[in-house]
């Protein structure tokens, strides 16, 4: 069986972390291919829905990358993201989802090495955690909808 390869969605700010990823490329740093990057202008643009959407569509982890505190290209968009992030983490926990699946890192344009380290580390963590779809018992599909009831109805199964 193929070993589990987690999928990571990176939501990266245009001015810091996206550039760090560019720099990692220019410096030919090799890191886990599990990361797939979406560019936004500022981490403050990121909506919790984007994160939930990523999980719902098969991501095993979401990495938000923004500028270091005080460095935001838009003054303090990264802090607005931080507020949402902290609250969202709490919510995920209530959902029974390991909060390590959502990670926020401040990575500046020059910190390609940090990006590499974070991605490799995060990939490793997610490998240990296993696929998102299998994690929280709340999201375990069972017999619902149950086939027995349908047959007693004498109805055709609907898609």
């Amino acid at each position: 069986m193929k070993s589990f390869e987690p999928k990571i969605i990176g939501l990266f700010c245009n001015w810091c972390t996206y550039l760090a990823a560019d720099l990692a490329g220019v410096s030919r740093m090799q890191y886990a291919p599990n990361l797939r990057i979406v560019r936004v202008m500022c981490s403050g643009r990121i909506h919790p829905e984007h994160v939930l959407w990523a999980f719902e569509n098969g991501a095993d982890g979401v990495l938000i990358g923004g500028c270091h505190p005080g460095d935001c290209h838009y003054i303090e968009g990264n802090f607005k993201n931080l507020r949402r992030y902290l609250l969202l983490k709490r919510l995920l926990k209530q959902f029974g989802i390991d909060e390590r699946r959502l990670r926020l890192e401040w990575i500046s344009a020059s910190e390609a090495d940090k990006l590499r380290r974070v991605v490799d580390e995060f990939t490793e963590t997610l490998r240990e955690l296993g696929p998102f779809a299998q994690e929280a018992p709340l999201f375990q599909a069972a017999e619902s909808p149950s086939p027995i009831q349908k047959s007693t109805l004498g109805m055709k199964e609907e898609d």
Binding site: P48, L52, E56, K80, L87, L88, L91, F139, A142, S144
Partner: protein, 342 residues
């Protein structure tokens, strides 16, 4: 003109929505001039066989309240879907899962265990638990299946319209009826209430400061000694979900100086009510210090899930793959996998 046939049914709900129908009072009598009720188990003696006997599409519209958790409920709503031209999800539970939907935040086994074994008021000999496997033919009934999850109505069958609210206020119900019976009914999928958020109709909206809202401390109603009746509740630090909640109720709760908890659900375009609520609430926290933010959250929002998904947990994005989602919105957000000719 012949009266249009109308049905009512309830699934997992508290009965408040049935009450809401009665709350129409004399308006109900006026409505009865246009409609004929052919199915309403809570009020009139109809049996399932009566419905089964009807032709497909014979009923003009069926109003279903309550969420779906039992196999019995699923059976009946499928049946009603076939027999009805229009299905209206009536009230927050069938709209989004409602309060019963909060049960999705707990595992089914925990619920059964609490109710039949470990709950503080339960006296048990250790064996009493409803078992759908037991069929007591001699009594003429069998037990329905208790599903693992609670679902909103449109996660079980196609729904044409939604009447929001917990419960829907009479004005909304009346307006909705009028729209349904009009010559040109609204497009399918419409939520029959305002298209704006609650703030839009709230009398306290104008008390918000022009420079916007910044919150240093969230409070829960019981923590506030005296709510200022003349200032926006959100501005006072109460977690009022008015900005993210569909209007139409006339800001009833806020009039009673209680913060909106979101029973009318999200506005068009918002996929996940809880996420949207969470995002705006977090955004207005007035702090950049992670420790301070954590403290503000600790003190003011101890239960984010219960706060933001009070009525809409089954409709959360995270449950969508599992429980299905509103077909219309899915089509909108997914590009079609069609080939076009080169």
């Amino acid at each position: 003109m012949a009266k249009k046939k109308v049905g009512f049914y309830w699934c997992a709900s508290c009965g408040g929505c049935e009450e809401a129908v009665v709350d129409l009072a004399e308006d109900l009598l006026a409505a009865l001039e246009q409609i004929e009720i052919v199915f309403w188990p809570v009020a009139m003696d109809f049996k399932r066989e009566d419905v089964e006997k009807m032709a497909d599409g014979e009923i003009f519209a069926t109003f279903i309240n309550g969420a779906v958790r039992l196999s019995e409920q699923e059976e009946i709503v499928h049946l009603l879907r076939r027999k009805s031209q229009v299905i209206v999800a009536f009230g927050a539970c069938s709209h989004m899962g409602g309060i019963p939907g909060l049960a999705n935040g707990v595992q089914r086994e925990q619920i059964l265990d609490y109710y039949y074994h470990s709950g503080p008021t339960v006296e048990t000999n250790g064996s009493v638990e409803p078992d759908p496997g037991i069929t007591k033919k001699e009594h003429g009934f069998d037990l329905p299946e208790f599903y693992r999850h609670v679902r909103a109505l449109d996660q079980v069958i196609d729904v044409d319209y939604y009447i929001p609210g917990c419960a829907p206020p009479p004005a909304i119900v009346k307006g909705a009826l009028a729209q349904l019976l009009a010559e040109e009914p609204p497009p399918p999928g419409t939520v029959l209430a305002s298209s704006h958020a609650l703030c839009h109709e709230c009398e306290l909206n104008e008390t918000k400061p022009a420079e916007g809202i910044r919150i240093k401390e969230f409070k829960r109603p019981h923590q506030v000694e005296k709510i200022d009746p003349n200032t926006c509740l959100l501005v006072q630090g109460l977690v009022c979900l008015g900005p993210v909640t569909r209007g139409g109720c006339g800001a009833l709760c806020v009039k009673g100086r209680m913060p909106c908890t979101g029973c009318f659900g999200p506005l068009d375009g918002v996929q996940d009510f809880g996420a949207a609520a969470l995002s705006f609430v977090a955004s207005i926290i007035d702090s950049n210090d992670p420790h301070e933010i954590e403290r503000i959250l600790d003190e003011g929002i101890p239960d984010p899930l219960g706060t933001f998904y009070l009525y809409s947990l089954p409709k959360s994005l995270l449950f969508q793959k599992l429980l299905g989602r509103n077909g219309k919105k899915v089509a909108e957000s997914r590009p079609r996998k069609e080939k076009v000719e080169a």
